[in-house]
Symmetry: C2
Subunit: 236 residues, 2 copies
């Protein structure tokens, strides 16, 4: 066997997890128990557990133990971006709500100004929202809205999602250009989303256009990659 010990141990545990010997939420044997079971040093056991954690299969709590991570992901449909996110969640049996963190006028940063086709440092409204799924923090949305719209709908935006707010006031969104990528939690995000530093995140970066092809809204939805996925359907 030229495969490292810690690999063969973490693979053995992985198979036990996927086979159902350890259910989501179950506690794995302690490091000491694994040392005896596999007759290896603690370093090797810890490396094996680190492998599982880095693969998103387990999560360790100091003083408590290592637990199998719950599995199910929530799908966010991209096929019709105008749908209220909450209804998407409700259809999957998830209790969805959002918290308005901030809503302020600021000078537009460079990428925002480019996306919205306005001069750099022109005033835009930036809104930070925290999305909760079944009570747990799941995603943060940071969106930049054209100044006149932000000012006009400030009260509503704090309580209702952005797309419905705009649509209700005669500004339907016609097109959304977006990019999906993967990043890691920095210090700020690890605080918002209650995850460790470096935890994998998905970023949905979008620019929304109104019916007259004018960019109206630019933003990023940053979500826990272990909780979220995106679904879409494309036709020729």
């Amino acid at each position: 066997m030229s495969t490292p010990l810690h690999i063969s141990i973490s693979e053995k545990l992985r198979r036990q997890i996927t086979a159902g010997d350890y259910q989501p939420g179950d506690k794995l044997p302690s490091e000491h128990q694994l040392m005896e079971r596999f007759n290896v040093s603690r370093i090797t056991v810890r490396q094996a557990i680190a492998n599982l954690v880095s693969q998103g299969l387990a999560i360790a709590y100091r003083g408590k133990g290592v637990f199998v991570t719950p599995r199910k992901k929530v799908a966010y449909s991209l096929s019709s971006p105008l749908v209220f996110l909450g209804s998407d969640m409700a259809r999957q049996g998830i209790d969805f709500c959002f918290e308005n963190l901030t809503l302020d006028p600021v000078p537009a940063p460079e990428p925002v100004a480019t996306a919205l086709a306005i001069p750099p440092k022109a005033v835009v409204y930036v809104q930070k929202k925290l999305f909760r799924m079944d009570g747990a923090a799941g995603a943060v949305d940071i969106s930049y809205l054209m100044a006149e719209l932000g000012q006009r709908f400030a009260d509503t935006l704090a309580q209702q999602m952005t797309f419905p707010t705009l649509a209700d006031n005669g500004i339907p969104i016609d097109q959304v250009d977006a990019v999906i990528e993967c990043t890691h939690a920095d210090y700020a995000m690890s605080g918002y989303l209650e995850v460790p530093l470096g935890h994998p995140l998905m970023v949905y970066r979008y620019t929304a256009f109104s019916t007259d092809q004018q960019p109206v809204l630019y933003g990023e939805t940053i979500s826990r990659a272990d909780r979220f996925c995106y679904s879409l359907s494309t036709r020729a």
Copy 2:
């Protein structure tokens, strides 16, 4: 200071990276040099480097050193999934090619049978392809093709992408349903994609339908999350 040594060291290095002291592609100091610079043990240095790697900022190669990860990501457009992937790459100035790893008839695993609406264990053709961008392994595609199609086009499939092969033979793809999610490299994928275990990956899991609404192809494109992102445009 109650923050662990390895955290403060990796944060120091992270700041140097983001400040540009170490450019993308640059080699970081060796473990030995970092031990002397910070006056700590090798365990601590290795933990600090592991932090950077888990945050996607660096990548380690045995015998060579630790390097700052290159930053630019290649965008894969999802708006028209029928486009030949290579032309997407070429437009971004990327040299694209693929290697046929395997192409074999196998009994369909359960999720494949469900997606293709065939009985479990019915024969399908599974093809593994390795995508190379500028020579470096960037993505693996594992696709399952209905048996009669796999048998008919086996020779062509080893040299040409699947969608063009089907289209050239009168089987155009009309609709693609897909899910995008984030996972981590297991042992097999870390070998294919030349990344460390646990490296973040993006999965594009698709079912392609022909014009008669019949599922024809099911598969997963698994790509390095530090190299790839997905772009899409949706209309109301």
